[in-house]
């Protein structure tokens, strides 16, 4: 029994490990082809992200929005749909939080901070509503709508920044700074800035855990994802759950955007997100919806983002390598069936050999 359990566990983790391994090999090949040293690249990545105290704190604070987007993707994954609109919802949420942060004035921080966070959440939810509605009522291809909405969000937020809330004193396209009362409180400011968003993240993780494992709604939601048809026949309203999974995903994405505005930049920069929403996709899919793995995965991706600055300075490798890594991971996840087949075959072969001995 024990052996069987560990074997099943191995089978569920092995594909993800294989995917990461193949991705590392492929990236090394790409780096070699462009004349860079892959070993030095990974060492620089590590040095930049975990090597110094400052880098470590930077990595942790970057991991928060990435992890929230991973949760958003995983939530949709749980009911069997694929949410790639997180990036757009994140940008829109940041917009909402910036507006609430700028225009609500003379409020005490204890009210203003949650209010501005809520502004982000609301905007994220609203932005997730249209694609969800289109998917449920019109059966439109969710992914196509989401991709269009992502592009739309970026253009629209640029428009709002330039036309309505631009800071004329700023050199780059950015909004006016938000009110001091909407700043997220800091835990520490030196050697790096770390705000209380880490605790928000942990609270969200606990809420999600309780929701999925301790409530009926969570159980029914899981049933939708495992077998939607069977869930439908047994009287679970699958459409309702799909709708709520996507809209709550929008809320999480909006929260991530709000945290970036209120905790990191204190204003809304045009193009502030280098693709946090897309980072969430490979993380959620590779970690089999396990919240703990997702946190580790977000730390790794944040390390990639922080460390890529170091590699850019030290080796001249462009930061676009992060997008390449994302792409390779997602493409490999698509072959999940084949990789599971390889994993299963290699496991059974090993077992067979042991038996002959």
């Amino acid at each position: 029994m024990m052996a069987k359990l560990s074997r099943d566990k191995m089978l569920s983790v092995l594909p993800s490990l294989l995917i990461i391994l193949i991705a590392v090999v492929l990236i090394s090949i790409i780096l070699l082809a462009t004349g860079a040293n892959p070993i030095l690249f990974f060492m620089n990545l590590f040095k930049g992200s975990f090597g110094t105290k400052r880098g470590l704190i930077n990595t942790i604070s970057k991991a928060v929005p990435i992890c929230l987007s991973a949760f958003a993707v995983a939530l949709a994954n749980k009911v069997g749909v694929f949410n790639i609109g997180v990036e757009g919802q994140l940008v829109f949420g940041a917009l909402g939080s910036a507006i609430a942060g700028i225009y609500l004035q003379e409020l005490p921080a204890i009210i203003h901070v949650p209010l501005a966070l809520f502004g982000g959440i609301l905007f994220g939810m609203l932005y997730a509503y249209l694609p969800t509605w289109m998917y449920i009522k019109q059966q439109a291809n969710l992914m196509v709508v989401f991709i269009m909405m992502n592009n739309l969000a970026k253009l629209f937020s640029t428009f709002v920044i330039i036309a309505l809330i631009q800071d004329p004193a700023s050199m780059v396209t950015a909004s006016q700074p938000i009110q001091k009362s909407a700043y997220l409180p800091m835990i520490m400011t030196s050697p790096g800035k770390l705000n209380i968003s880490v605790f928000i993240l942990i609270a969200v993780a606990i809420l999600i855990y309780v929701f999925f494992y301790k409530t009926v709604y969570g159980y029914e939601m899981t049933a939708c994802g495992v077998n939607g048809e069977a869930a439908d026949y047994s009287g679970i309203n699958t459409r309702k759950y799909i709708k709520w999974a996507l809209i709550l995903g929008g809320a999480l994405a909006g929260l991530a955007g709000a945290i970036e505005v209120q905790g990191t930049y204190f204003k809304l920069y045009d193009g502030f997100s280098p693709g946090y929403g897309f980072d969430g996709i490979p993380i959620a899919l590779l970690s089999n919806n396990n919240p703990l793995f997702m946190m580790v995965g977000s730390l790794l991706f944040a390390a990639l983002r922080v460390g890529s600055n170091t590699t850019q300075i030290e080796q001249g490798i462009s930061g676009e390598i992060v997008t390449v890594i994302q792409g390779i991971l997602v493409t490999l996840i698509a072959c999940e069936y084949f990789i599971r087949y390889i994993a299963k075959r290699s496991m059974t072969r090993k077992k067979g050999r042991r038996m002959t001995i």
């Binding site: 694929f82 249209l130 428009f159 997008t323 996840i333 698509a334 084949f338």
Partner: protein, 310 residues
């Protein structure tokens, strides 16, 4: 005055339709064979980059077009390997290839040229050989020769899909691969052919048109949603050559409107808001869509070879 505006708009409309239409026709073959292709954007950008790199190193734009086709075929080959051979998840594969191509092209662009934008290379923006035709010669020579190739492509794809055995086989494979296999069609070979060769080549043409047929350089993310518009055009055109071309013309119109409004800016609208027009058009047309019976029934359903069954 209005005649001039109308003429500019028409020329602009035809020019901007070409990449969407070519890509949409490629996608039509792909989806007719039962493989969803969300990687259109990635295939196009690979082609656009390949065209410029090929032209930069050989000096001949036609060799650039060839490189473009090869680059797109590599991307579509990966898609077909994953979705046809390995029975992978087609939507995720397409999405991953989009991200990978966008990232890899700008990464390579930065490592070769050190910026996100390539230097100007030789291009094929006008068709000089039409110049001597009286009356319409001037009008015809405004378009790239690649645009004329894509006009030929329309007729060829219409012919293949509605008049040949190959077209019937493609439809059969996309509707019911099991029955098609029983009838003696090699399902996987035909799907590989549709995805890698047909879709890849057309994506390469579309990409080459974007970079060296319209402009003379490559820029990061220069496809700007055109691949997705092509995907929508195929669905809204109900997988039928004529309607797909009509939908591509519609999206081309919105793209042209956007471009003209940005250049003239008679209405004094912020350029960012004008740029949203094609996306809004795409989303609104999707809102109006309904599930049709023309849907290839095996679309997105992987058909796995027996030897890979777990």
């Amino acid at each position: 005055m209005s005649k001039v505006i109308l003429l500019t708009l028409t020329v602009s409309l035809l020019r901007l339709t070409v990449p969407i239409m070519t890509m949409a026709l490629g996608n039509m073959f792909c989806e007719r064979a039962g493989i969803m292709n969300l990687g259109a954007e990635g295939m196009m950008i690979a082609g656009a980059f390949g065209a410029v790199v090929g032209t930069y190193f050989t000096g001949n734009p036609w060799l650039g077009v060839l490189t473009a086709v090869l680059c797109s075929m590599i991307v579509s080959g990966i898609h077909s390997l994953i979705s046809v051979e390995f029975g992978g998840i087609q939507n995720i594969s397409g999405l991953g290839l989009n991200m990978l191509s966008a990232g890899l092209t700008s990464f390579l662009c930065r490592s070769i040229f050190n910026t996100g934008i390539t230097p100007s290379v030789a291009s094929i923006q006008t068709a000089g050989f039409f110049k001597n035709i009286p009356v319409i010669g001037h009008f015809l020579s405004q378009f790239s020769p690649l645009a004329y190739i894509s006009v030929v492509v329309i007729f060829v794809s219409w012919f293949i899909m509605s008049k040949t055995v190959l077209g019937m086989h493609i439809v059969a494979v996309g509707d019911d691969p099991k029955a098609a296999e029983t009838a003696g069609i090699n399902v996987w070979r035909l799907r590989h052919f549709c995805v890698t060769v047909l879709c890849g080549a057309l994506a390469g043409l579309a990409g080459a048109y974007l970079s060296i047929g319209q402009l003379s350089f490559f820029m990061e993310d220069m496809t700007a949603g055109k691949g997705m518009l092509a995907v929508i055009a195929v669905k809204m055109g109900r997988w039928n050559t004529k309607y797909v071309v009509a939908m591509a013309l519609l999206f081309g119109f919105f793209d042209a409107l956007q471009a003209q409004l940005q250049i003239n800016n008679v209405l004094h609208i912020a350029p960012e808001l004008i740029q949203t027009i094609p996306y809004l058009a795409g989303i609104i047309t999707m809102l109006l869509s309904s599930r049709s019976k023309d849907n290839p029934r095996a679309l997105r359903v992987p058909y796995v070879k027996n030897k890979y069954k777990i």
